[in-house]
Symmetry: C2
Subunit: 328 residues, 2 copies
């Protein structure tokens, strides 16, 4: 089926809800295939509908369970849902991982759910590079909500917040002294905080500490949220995801945040900043790749020789290299 | 004295051996002043004479003592010497540091010695960015040898080897089990290895282990050294720098390495690679800075809006941004 390789055709099929077309498109963007630009152009007119919801939290906090339960809840509300599970430490990637099938077993046959795992290890910029394109695919495929699940280690939780319209931070009681969140800076990034495993000892204390710390944050950051309307007050929820207790409240909070961010203008501002960062990152990467390409040619060696001969200084050489690297 | 600010005038004075002009030029390049490009252009015709000698080693190995003794030895051989002490961890910088004056006390009044400390913390690329320009100043000022002294922590020892024509690795006995060097990968970067504090227990063993390990390296890397002539066999020396014992042999080894690298063509190859990396780094940094400059303008926000509206994809937006960022 050579026609299926045509990006416009693939995007059309993805918009009809064909799982294989969605999977193929994500593979194309993930592997930075030569067709990447065609794919991006074909996706462009169909982007911006989905709410991108970032889900992050420390290992063991119950992210997979929460994601699966939240998918069920959103499907019950008749929403189309995409799931992008991003693992910054895994070298494995692709849509056919056994782990996903097992984990998301109940959703595997649901045509209204798109599930994909992506590894970002070794990718330039980790999450930042391939993920936005994969999100555009799921967005164009008609998802109302796309959940981006990533393990909260190192930089990845901040990265996921940058990609998301709404960020959900998962915590669990007894995973460190008090709210271990504070150290990692996740207090600043969460729009919704969900304390999972709320049937365990210490859950109430975790909720209380979290609320106290968020109260401190509020004053300092209110001005940063929205333009003109009431600022968003981060929600703090308790749940037991494994028994789907509190998942409806989580879905509510996510939906409320979308409504607030649309009416306040905060969504538009977040997306503008995001688009700007993405355009900048792509530009720099393109220049870098072209310069790398020049290494095989004669331009850079000959400029280096002229610098060594004292004919030009390295700044002037850089001007000439840049001109050569940038002109198409 | 406004005339002293003119880069051509400053370079002329530096070439006459005026310490203040040299200090001023290094400050200009170090602070990336607006005159940086004029300075670089004025320096260009006068570069390439000095042998850049990198000196690296773990803290406590005796780098400062060795540097000072080596300066004395090279001065006795009627060579003009520059010293650039690079501290990747220090926030302090500049030529007037009390530490330098004290440490290099005996050379402070010698017109044939130029001494400078540079901090690279916070600089983009650390050593890689400001140091090459500072080396050009000392080179243009007529130094025959420029010693770049840096503490061997993390990436800095590899960086200094990239900048240098000749790399001297200092070791001391009893600073770890056997030759701790192996772990840090310094075996690959050294042209001359000097085991300092050779009057201490274990010095012979350190020398022996070092020679064994270098013997293993030899076969694998011989092809990488020079073009056509005999490969360079790394020298392994013993010394007691605090009593200046073995410093003459160190100076000999450094001089021999220069002679070998000139006749073999290795020097030219190293410098070509270096110039290429530098030109590339400057180009990328220039593009990055210009893009940063565009953030204040209307180009990037308006491109982002067009992406959000689905009019263009981010790759096309990146093309347009790049075109705007690069055209002068």
């Amino acid at each position: 089926m050579p026609a299926a390789q045509d990006p416009l055709e693939l995007v059309a099929r993805a918009r009809e809800g064909q799982q294989r077309a969605v999977a193929k498109l994500i593979s194309l963007v993930e592997n930075a295939s030569p067709q990447l630009r065609e794919v991006a152009a074909a996706l462009a007119p169909h982007a911006g509908n989905a709410q991108i919801v970032g889900l992050t939290g420390a290992p063991g906090v119950g992210k997979s369970t929460t994601t699966s339960a939240l998918v069920t809840e959103l499907r019950a509300r008749d929403l189309r849902v995409g799931v992008l599970a991003v693992d910054p430490s895994s070298p494995f990637s692709g849509g056919a991982l056994l782990g996903d099938r097992v984990r998301m077993g109940e959703h595997a046959t649901d045509d209204g759910v798109f599930i994909r795992s992506m590894a970002t290890r070794g990718h330039l910029g980790g999450l930042a590079w391939a993920t936005p394109q994969a999100l555009r695919v799921l967005d164009a495929a008609g998802c109302d909500v796309v959940l981006v699940e990533t393990v909260g280690v190192g930089q990845s939780e901040v990265d996921v917040a940058r990609l998301a319209d709404t960020t959900v931070v998962l915590l669990a009681p007894g995973m460190g002294d008090g709210v271990q969140a504070a150290k990692a800076g996740i207090l600043e990034i969460g729009d919704v905080f969900a304390v999972n495993k709320a049937d365990r000892d210490g859950a109430r204390q975790t909720v209380r500490e979290l609320k106290n710390m968020l109260h401190l944050r509020e004053g300092a950051e209110a001005a940063d949220h929205g333009t003109g309307t009431e600022p968003w007050t981060p929600r703090v929820l308790s749940m037991v995801a494994s028994r789907t207790e509190g998942i409806d409240a989580l879905a509510d909070a996510v939906t409320e945040h979308r409504a607030w961010s649309e009416s306040s203008g905060a969504l538009r501002e977040r997306r503008r900043r995001r688009a700007q960062s993405e355009i900048e990152a792509i530009s720099l990467e393109q220049v870098r790749l072209r310069m790398e390409g020049l290494r095989g040619g004669s331009a850079l060696p000959s400029l280096a020789d002229r610098v060594l001969a004292g004919e030009i200084d390295p700044y002037r050489a850089a001007d000439e290299l840049r001109a050569g690297a940038v002109d198409v």
